[in-house]
């Protein structure tokens, strides 16, 4: 799970949905020249989260599985509703735009065959390609990937900038100490919440990381520091997603219910080997089960070693991260790879143009927009909500593969350390004036990021639920006749 944090921190692009929350504090840390601290904190928190989760797993596997099983459709629905409600509640003072973004995502997700009646629905201009619906990845790549590329060009005016960061072995050790000193609360919260969210069927690591971030922020005395580069904000989601990934194995092993898309694939692998996940597994295949649990401990330890050892490489990436057109090629190729459908590639471009034409007003306005018209900090409120809603709604999307995740290029401020100060100095007076409950905080990029975080919660529930379903169908279905 640590892998997703690397691009979240170094490039500001979540490497996985589980690392979305890591971006909110990891990226500001990197922009302050403290990428090493963020990466080390993430690695150590991941290790602790994984270890705590392993201990829980070992001790409470059967009883916890029964608790997780009690979550039925009403409970899952309530979770989704809660996610949408939190979008609105914490989305700042542009509530109509937030609701609109959620709704348009849900509408786009209903394109295609009606799941109840089987009738074609919202087939625009009788284009048959819409019968299959609008694939999540098409929308995500169009909105995130190409949109970000265009935004980068517009905002940098063609001038590529890069940030640098210092690295040393002693620095890593110091960062580890500092990360644990300032991130222990987040690590603890993430470890516990991550595990218990992880064991919920079809929930997975992403909601765990988001909830942990939210709870950690809620309980923190210095919650205003969240979003500006607080180690707790990195530790909480990273501990949680690692913890949840182990937790999601619990319902899979004990009940045969995959807790995440990843475990669904693992479940398929177990079926291939003649293992039947379920309560009997602990009795009939105890050697396998306990061997697997033992491997969790070992792999967790070695992951820590490897992750920390490679931090210089990640730092190098940060220093040399520049946007290049090869990423655009990969976006199109990646889209093609998934479905070999040229329509999807075209639709991706259309999604991008729609995004570019329709959404920049919201995107720019909801973010920290300086006088010069440049966003000092990136913001994705307008991007995330429709995409999130699509994922929540759709039940037949593939889980987002890491290798096809859109690369947004890089958007570093030429002088990152001073970026926030510059923004504050340049922020127009009207943005400083409190309007209702919204003062500077509500219009600040930090607040917008927090709003974006909770929008991602929608992404979360749907992604894992649909991904799990699809994975079961795609992996077990074809294998069952073998």
């Amino acid at each position: 799970m640590y892998g997703g944090a690397i691009s979240s921190i170094t490039l500001g692009i979540p490497g996985a949905s589980t690392a979305v929350a890591t971006t909110f504090d990891g990226r500001p840390l990197a922009m302050q020249g403290r990428a090493s601290l963020a990466l080390v904190t993430a690695a150590v928190a991941s290790f602790i989260g994984g270890t705590v989760s392993n201990i829980f797993f070992t001790a409470f596997a059967p009883p916890l599985a029964s608790v997780a099983l009690s979550f039925g459709p009403p409970e899952i629905f309530a979770l989704m509703l809660l996610a949408f409600a939190t979008f609105v509640g914490l989305g700042g003072d542009d509530i109509p735009k937030t609701i609109f973004s959620i709704c348009i995502g849900l509408v786009l997700a209903s394109v295609g065959y009606d799941e109840i009646s089987g009738a074609p629905r919202l087939i625009f201009f009788d284009i048959t390609g819409f019968l299959h619906g609008i694939n999540f990845l098409v929308l995500a790549i169009g909105v995130y990937g190409i949109g970000e590329m265009l935004w980068t060009i517009d905002s940098t005016r063609g001038k590529i900038t890069s940030t640098t960061a210092k690295f040393s072995v002693k620095g890593v050790v110091d960062d580890a100490k500092e990360g644990m000193r300032r991130g222990w609360r987040g690590t603890t919260i993430g470890s516990f919440i991550g595990f218990f969210v992880g064991i919920l069927p079809a929930a997975g690591a992403t909601p765990g990381s988001l909830m942990s971030y939210g709870v950690s922020k809620m309980l923190a005395k210095d919650s205003k520091e969240y979003g500006k580069g607080h180690p707790d904000g990195v530790a909480a989601p990273e501990a949680a997603n690692n913890s949840a990934s182990t937790g999601s194995m619990l319902p899979m092993l004990t009940l045969g219910i995959p807790g995440s898309p990843t475990t669904a694939i693992l479940l398929g692998g177990m079926v291939i080997w003649g293992l039947t996940p379920g309560p009997r597994l602990f009795v009939d295949q105890s050697e396998f089960v306990w061997g697997l649990i033992g491997s969790f401990y070992v792999s967790n330890f070695f992951a820590l070693i490897v992750n920390i050892a490679f931090i210089p490489v990640f730092i190098w990436m940060l220093a040399h991260a520049v946007h290049h057109p090869g990423a655009d090629d990969l976006r199109v190729v990646g889209r093609w790879r998934l479905c070999s459908n040229p329509r999807h590639a075209r639709r991706m471009a259309h999604a991008d143009l729609r995004h570019r034409c329709f959404l920049p007003a919201q995107a720019r306005l909801s973010s920290g927009t300086s006088r010069a018209g440049h966003r000092a900090w990136p913001d994705r409120r307008a991007d995330i909500a429709p995409v999130a809603a699509v994922v929540v709604r759709r039940s037949d999307d593939l889980p987002e593969p890491a290798d096809c995740r859109p690369d947004h290029g890089h958007r570093d401020h030429p002088d990152p350390a001073a970026a926030s100060q510059v923004w504050l100095e340049q922020v127009p007076p009207y943005r400083r004036r409190p309007t209702g409950t919204a003062g500077l905080i509500n219009t600040s990029p930090v607040s917008s990021r927090t709003g974006g975080l909770l929008r991602q919660a929608a992404f979360v529930f749907g992604c894992n639920q649909s991904g799990a379903r699809r994975c079961v169908r795609t992996s077990i279905g074809p294998m069952s006749h073998l």
């Binding site: 609701i99 009606d114 629905r121 040229p342 007003a361």
Partner: protein
């Protein structure tokens, strides 16, 4: 920005109404004994979207939203130019992939992007534009066993030659 917000709201309102209209192609009310019709979900969501745009317009008129108080342009001439240049390049890339293959399209797109948009040197441009498609070819076709579009028949000799390295 101020003008941009109201124009955007207007476009989104039209989009919402179109979605509502499309939704009525299916039953959008409650079907007795069955529940909501197939069009009910998108219809009412679109209705909410329309209501939201009304509220956006009200906020705009009252000048309570930040953009409604801004005089900055939504998209200046440079942004508009780049939008068409980059968007057009991507569209051409996708279109050309049917004709000169994905890799050929990639080659031309990289030249266009690096040389004409990025203003890099020809040496760098050609190096990257040549290497990237070749690397992608061997990565997808050889390692991943994923076949990407090869375009029209005239590209066959080139790909036959490259395939000799794989098979």
């Amino acid at each position: 920005m101020r003008r941009g917000e109201i124009i955007t709201a207007g476009i989104l309102a039209l989009l919402s109404m179109y979605m509502m209209y499309k939704s009525t192609e299916l039953e959008w009310g409650y079907v007795s004994g069955e529940g909501p019709g197939g069009g009910a979900w998108p219809f009412w969501l679109s209705a909410i979207m329309l209501i939201c745009t009304v509220f956006i317009a009200i906020n705009w008129a009252r000048r309570t939203s930040p953009p409604s108080q801004s005089t900055e342009p939504l998209l200046d001439s440079y942004g508009l130019k780049m939008l068409f240049l980059v968007g057009g390049g991507i569209a051409a890339f996708i279109g050309l992939s049917h004709i000169i293959s994905m890799y050929g399209g990639m080659f031309l797109f990289l030249i266009y992007y690096l040389r004409f948009l990025g203003r890099h040197t020809w040496a760098l441009t050609m190096t990257i534009a040549t290497l990237v498609p070749i690397i992608f070819f061997f990565f997808f076709e050889a390692l991943m066993r994923i076949t990407l579009p090869k375009g029209w028949k005239f590209t066959e000799p080139l790909f036959n030659w490259l395939n000799n390295f794989i098979y």
